[in-house]
């Protein structure tokens, strides 16, 4: 009699185990086929796409996670060579997750769309077929604040010898508990990821994202509110920033000037792209979006975040004017369809990225001499060394 429950238990356990193992193995096989992610990849979260050493933060070569792929030099986007053809145009775009691309379909993040747009426009303008001698490199990394950007430009972007550097700073980091600082690792060598990461269950991420997508927005907002309140209860009332702190504004201005300076030191033309978000548009009235934003920075209010971004825009105008660098403000171009252009408060949809790219491309085509844009088809010698100090053959 006792054997029956035991047999049932064993049979049930075997079923559950088989189900779980099949689930996990299929996740890995699908990741391998669809995104080229190795079956035993150690990259298990977006943060692992970045490595930090004494040179600062940079993209982890060949790292892949979800839809994101870093190339062999640690940039999101297609492979390129350090060597440049004479007459080619190289644009590097620096920024955080808005630039790196979070919600856009692969290849639709705005640096990629900028490249497509520039190639098409110059081809039409010069009466030549579209050429790959115009390249746009996505130098952005998720979470990259201005101090890290300064270091990134100096150590990673400078060897690329760009003609143009586009800077798209994220002001939000300046309202974090601690103001941003350049991230530097303890060792000069690559900080490799632990082998145990390879065994982390991938089905957990899939399950989490499905649960999130199935949860009604009203429930998500309520949960976010509760999460913010929970964090608030753990701190004194004064901990919460309820108005724009002037010292953080000053820090942002100082760091932005440094970033512009770092860009200039590369010898490239620097273009500042004014930060845009949903709250800048007069008909914005989405309280839930503000709550979602506040959840990222629970030490401040959504209104303060919005106000700080407005101040940051004013500073960008001032810094651009003082430094005589170009400023592109995409706000006007987004008017009329801004609701479809943002996937959340600051990150773009494919449409938003296309609008930003189109605006930048128009500006570059107008600003750069025709000779620069039209001389790109001949293949010649090499201007910069044909090796890549960032390249690594290690697949992640």
């Amino acid at each position: 009699m006792a054997a029956r429950p035991v047999a049932r238990f064993l049979s049930g356990t075997a079923l559950v185990l088989t189900f779980g193992v099949a689930l996990e193995i299929t996740c890995r096989i699908e990741d391998r086929i669809a995104n080229g992610i190795p079956l035993l990849s150690r990259v298990t979260q977006p943060g692992h796409l970045i490595l930090v050493d004494t040179g600062g933060a940079r993209g982890r070569p060949n790292a892949r996670f979800g839809q994101w792929r870093m190339n062999s030099m640690g940039f999101r986007g297609p492979e390129f060579t350090f060597s440049r053809r004479p007459g080619s145009l190289r644009v590097v775009v620096e920024g955080a997750s808005e630039t790196f691309g979070l919600y856009e379909a692969p290849g639709r993040e705005f640096p990629r769309q900028l490249e497509d747009s520039l190639r098409q426009r110059t081809a039409a303008m010069c009466g030549a077929p579209s050429t790959d001698a115009i390249e746009v490199i996505n130098g952005a990394l998720p979470g990259m604040a201005l101090p890290s950007m300064v270091r990134h430009v100096a150590s990673v972007v400078t060897p690329l010898h760009p003609d143009v550097i586009v800077l798209y700073p994220s002001p939000g980091f300046y309202l974090d508990v601690q103001p941003p600082r350049a991230t530097v690792g303890p060792t000069a060598s690559d900080s490799s990821l632990p082998a145990a990461n390879a065994l982390r269950l991938r089905l957990v991420d899939r399950l989490r994202s499905q649960v999130k997508s199935l949860t009604p927005e009203i429930v998500l907002t309520s949960l976010r509110r509760r999460s913010i309140e929970k964090v608030e209860r753990q701190h004194p009332t004064s901990w919460k920033i309820r108005s724009v702190p002037e010292e953080r504004v000053a820090l942002f201005e100082r760091d932005l000037r440094r970033a512009v300076g770092a860009g200039r030191q590369t010898g490239a033309r620097v273009i500042l792209l004014g930060h845009v978000n949903q709250t800048l548009f007069p008909d914005f009235n989405d309280a839930a979006a503000l709550v979602a934003w506040e959840k990222q920075f629970p030490n401040t209010t959504g209104e303060t975040l919005a106000d700080f971004h407005r101040r940051a825009r004013e500073i960008s105008v001032r810094v651009a004017r003082d430094s005589s660098v170009d400023l592109v403000d995409p706000t006007k171009a987004l008017e009329g369809h801004w609701r479809d252009s943002f996937a959340d408060f600051v990150h773009f949809t494919d449409l938003g990225a296309a609008t930003i790219a189109g605006q930048l491309a128009s500006y570059l085509v107008a600003a750069l001499p025709n000779t620069t844009l039209c001389r790109s088809s001949s293949v010649g010698g090499i201007e910069t060394p044909p090796f890549s100090p960032l390249a690594s053959g290690v697949p992640w």
Binding site: T18, F19, A22, I25, T26, A34, S209, L214
Partner: protein, 462 residues
Amino acid sequence: MLFNSAVFLFAFLPVTYLVFWWLRTKDARYLWLTLTGYVFYGYWDARFCLLMAFSTLVSYTAGLGFLRWKSGARRRACLVVPIVVDLLLLGFFKYFNFALDSTVSIARLFGAEVSPPHLNIVLPVGISFYTFHTITYIVDCYRGVITPTRSLFEFSTYVSLFSQLVAGPIVRFRQIEADLENIGTASRTRWLATGVQFFIVGLVEKVVVADSLAAFVDPALANYGALSTAGAWLAMLGYTFQLYFDFSGYSTMAVGLGYLFGLRIPQNFNSPYKALDPSDFWRRWHISLSSVLRDYLYIPLGGNRHGELKAYRNLMLTMLLGGLWHGASWTFVAWGAYHGLLLSAYRRFEKPWDSLAPVARRGIMFVAVLIGWVFFRSTSFEMAAHLLRVMFVPSPGALVPQWHLALFAVIAAGWWALGGPNAFEVGNPDRPRRRIVLAAAFGASLAIILGARSSPFLYFQF
């Protein structure tokens, strides 16, 4: 809502199932299934629930009419009016713009320049299926094959049953009448294992096989002009199996879901690519549709009872309308005509054909069906002509993307479709080893669904 979506699997189905078995009375279960059917349907576009409710009420009222009038003009009116109403609705939503465009094209052929307004009509999902449900009910009532139901809830359960609502099978009332009658005393556990097995097998067919094939078939055929001969064959082979596993998968899931609620929905696919001749193919492919076309169109037209020529005419008419039922496009009509010709040719040459070795008949039949799918899949006759030319005249060009994976997927799918068992041949679901296989298959399908790669069912467009 799709059967292979997380919202269906983790929210709709568990809630529907638990509440259904918690309810005890027949009427409560009818009401619950009706309600959930409308929720399921309204998930796409709630406005079209009204259309389905209207169609249901018209047919239900006609059924009451049949109970009251046993003969005469009123009884005939109960037959004609609901069918005309149903066909008008179907005609307007599905074929109005097609008819308009075709009229304009014909007028242009004769030099007349007309530009009538093009209406922006949204095709209600599944209208072709529930229209056939109500029409078969009306005709069967008129013929006296079934006794019309007096229960509005029973009838609305039949029409709006979520498992068969949007992509079939086309279940006739008489096929589930007994189970509907006994729904209040149905046993939850009696068909549970069978239902789960059907559902998982269908899920695997759809999510693992059909969607994997779609990953290379869709991009390849979207750029069909660039395909080489090998590429075109690989893409069309892929599509041949994709369509089968997609639709068969949906039907098998529908059958499984029916069993979970104590309703035995009949088999819709019986390994159609194992068919030895065109008649055999239509006894195996979309069985519910082909039997409806046979019983409600071909036989009333006279079938083969009035000589050879009329039999050919009836075959062609039935298949042309069958093609048109699949979609408002001349390529579907061409596909129907092609199968009409195949059936007619088989009728004419049945004896010499049947004397061929089975392996030859099966092989030739498979290729003939594959050629038909070229018309079925093509969005224009230019596309169909180009694909056929490239397939049969050696041409340079591209292979399908990731051709080595595509080839593997086609071989695996081909093995299952041509050599493996179908869902109804899998056997007893209670064996421990089979349970292990089903658990693994469900895990694999779920992983893909959680990765949000699943796609809509191909037959939703019909």
